[in-house]
Subunit: 192 residues, 2 copies
């Protein structure tokens, strides 16, 4: 099982955004939709051994976390709007401190990075890390940020975590996930 | 300069689709939008040395080709809807046999794969190719298909072209482009 946790610094925590303007009204929710798809989609299939957690910090407070479980998710298509509609639906149900199902394979709770750090051991994806092709071991959970850098407080929270880089140029979060999945596919299949 | 040519077998050749339903009304235009973005986007920047050609075959006939030139394109955002709006705009201007500008860096002409094959030497991205990590040379132009296999006629047209694979599992076209760009970035920067 591989999980990706993506921090959406500006992403709204209520359903008050329009699918016709995911970047603006959703607080760059388009990025998070692409990250869900990069985490979970194969050609004509889903990665049943992958999860994607979206940490929405854009308010209104408190932050919320949405989990997409590849093993259970239904009715997800690879276009951004499809993931966006499911996120919107998840944000419209009352959220508590534990994950609550909003749709098959999609659940939501209050809380953000701090709770996740208490539950999992993370590896951080950023440009300062070691090359993933050279890494001997991988974490089960990868953390990455949206289009903004980690905040000072987030950096403090993850400063003990190992860091991994996917390449020499700075690319989008969803592209980073795609490259990690490719490296994992290769190792599983003896292609490295 | 690296170019990606993506065949959209069902993609409409007129502007008669809605941005609210790129997959259905556009003939899986969502796939082509993601391919444009995977070809051209870096984090907070564009790849000025990359082009993306979309070959739209979904009718009405004849097929059309839209070119996105990373060196000249403006007002492209990384969400699918942004690329979709520019494609729609390009399809609404009269197209001839030569590329005509529809917006900065975006041009359109009548014609499809056959014309491109007369102009460029292709490498084909598909699962039957050699591993890109092991390839000694790369073509300047990569051809790939959308969610459908190449047709028998397309296979015939490209049967002399070298083939490259990005990994052991079958993934989306845009994910494939992302992995090729990563391999090229690594080679340029001495990361391999």
């Amino acid at each position: 099982m591989t999980s990706f946790v993506v921090i959406g610094h500006l992403a709204r925590t209520d359903g008050a955004f329009t699918l016709n303007d995911l970047p603006g009204s959703g607080g760059r929710m388009d990025i998070l939709c692409r990250c869900v798809n990069a985490s979970l989609f194969l050609s004509h299939d889903l990665r049943r051994d992958a999860d994607c957690y979206l940490v929405l910090c854009g308010g209104p407070p408190p932050p919320k976390t949405i989990r997409f479980s590849g093993n259970e998710v239904r009715s997800l298509s690879p276009d951004e709007r499809s993931a966006g509609a499911l996120i919107k639906k998840a944000l419209e149900i009352p959220a508590g401190s534990k994950f609550r199902d909003a749709a098959p394979g999609i659940s939501v709770r209050k809380g953000g990075l701090e709770q996740l750090l208490n539950e999992y051991t993370f590896g951080v994806l950023d440009e300062k890390g070691i090359d993933i092709r050279k890494a001997e071991v991988f974490p089960d959970v990868f953390l990455l940020s949206d289009h903004l850098n980690f905040t000072d407080n987030e950096e403090l929270q993850v400063k003990q975590c190992p860091r991994y880089s996917v390449g020499p140029v700075c690319i989008h979060a969803d592209q980073t996930i795609t490259i990690v999945q490719n490296e994992l596919d290769r190792r599983r299949c003896g292609w490295v």
